[in-house]
Amino acid sequence: MKRQIPLIIVITLGFMFVAHSFIPHTISQDFLTWFQDWMKAISPFAVVLGIMSLFMVHGKKISYKAPNWQYSIVTLAGLIFTALTGFIWGTQAGTPYMWIFKNIQMPMSSTMFALLAFYIASAAYKAFRARSPEATVLLVAAIIVMLGQVPLGTMISKWIPISSKWILNVPNLASKRAIMIGVGLGMTATSLKILLGIERTYLGGGD
């Protein structure tokens, strides 16, 4: 019963919402509003699960003195300190909380992504060496799109920005559209599997 009751709840709610999509009666609209209020009240508690998980993982590393356990102290100290600044001084501009965001979180976040520029370049060199016609097409399309975004492209030829725009609006659109249709069909199939009780991995392991 520990698995069956949650499964019955999903199937019942799922089919009710399918029905609501086709028959948006006032009663089902009220039910949806009520359900959304309940979901909004449940959702903040998911953060508690995230915090518990982080504390358990890093707490274990610290207690067992696992390799690099010292950095786990940094993680937990950073978490506690940042959260406390938000609770004590508020989250408005000019508070210590926003200072941490502006001078610690944001620089590290954008540098992490900037770092990928180097790795993406080396990965591209390995992957795109024009060893097949398809790889050459990919390489040429990427170069044209990149050059089309910067003034250098216009300086080389006025056709580069025009070609870049055409690539983005025609073959790229066809590619994205076909992939979107595939994703849509995949989402529908997965949703149906959940509704029919075939897909149950979200219930987790155990009894």
């Binding site: 499964l7 959702s43 940042t82 938000g86 609770f87 180097f118 990149m146 219930l203």
Partner: protein, 199 residues
């Protein structure tokens, strides 16, 4: 003076992350560990202010909607996830969220399939619209694995591969430019805001 200290702190963490380009080192590990902690710590007050207060505290304690105590208790069941004997209780808040997939079936069919198909079947009055139609159809044929990609059918699917390669190239180009833009931003910060070489 305060701005100089703030910029120096930001520059220290920027350079610590960049130091990974040389090799994994204690500065990078320190910055990485702090980044995880600070990011999570940053989210907690935001969730408290933007989700807990408006959707739990205010309606229950100020709006007297006591029925919301039930979903709040359901939300607390998440915490049993790590209990050996009571982890099954954490399924209840999860399944309430999963119920919404019922709406996902008609919505995904409509927005991702029907709307896209309708857009692809617009009057094929120009070369570009015809190319978009051919590209979409041939890519979809490529993903149909119930038939061998041989002969005439194989030729069609090969056209789809070419369209996909151009699409992937365009996506790659865009991603690279976004990353380069961030890199330029960080270098501008280091050289301009921090060291003051760019006025």
């Amino acid at each position: 003076m305060f701005e100089i200290i703030s910029n120096t702190v930001a520059a220290f963490f920027t350079l610590s992350i960049f130091s990974f380009l040389y090799k994994d080192n204690p500065f990078y590990k320190f910055a990485e560990a702090l980044f995880v902690g600070v990011s999570m710590g940053f989210a907690i007050p935001l969730v408290y202010e933007n989700a807990f207060i408006p959707f739990v505290y205010t309606p229950i304690f100020l709006g007297h909607k006591f029925s919301l105590i039930i979903p709040s208790l359901l939300g607390l069941l998440y915490t049993f996830r790590f209990s050996k004997n009571l982890s099954w209780l954490s399924r209840y808040p999860i399944v309430f969220g999963m119920g919404i997939v019922g709406m996902g079936v008609p919505m995904s069919i409509h927005s991702s399939v029907l709307v896209q198909m309708r857009s692809a079947m617009l009057p094929l009055d120009t070369v570009n619209t015809a190319l978009i139609f051919i590209g979409t159809v041939t890519i979809l044929l490529y993903f149909f694995f119930s038939k061998d990609h041989k002969g005439v059918y194989g030729k069609f699917t090969n056209v789809g591969v070419w369209f996909m390669m151009i699409g992937f190239g365009a996506s790659f180009g865009y991603t690279v430019m976004a990353r380069i833009s961030l890199l330029i931003g960080r270098i501008q910060f280091l050289v301009g805001d921090w060291l003051g070489f760019i006025k």
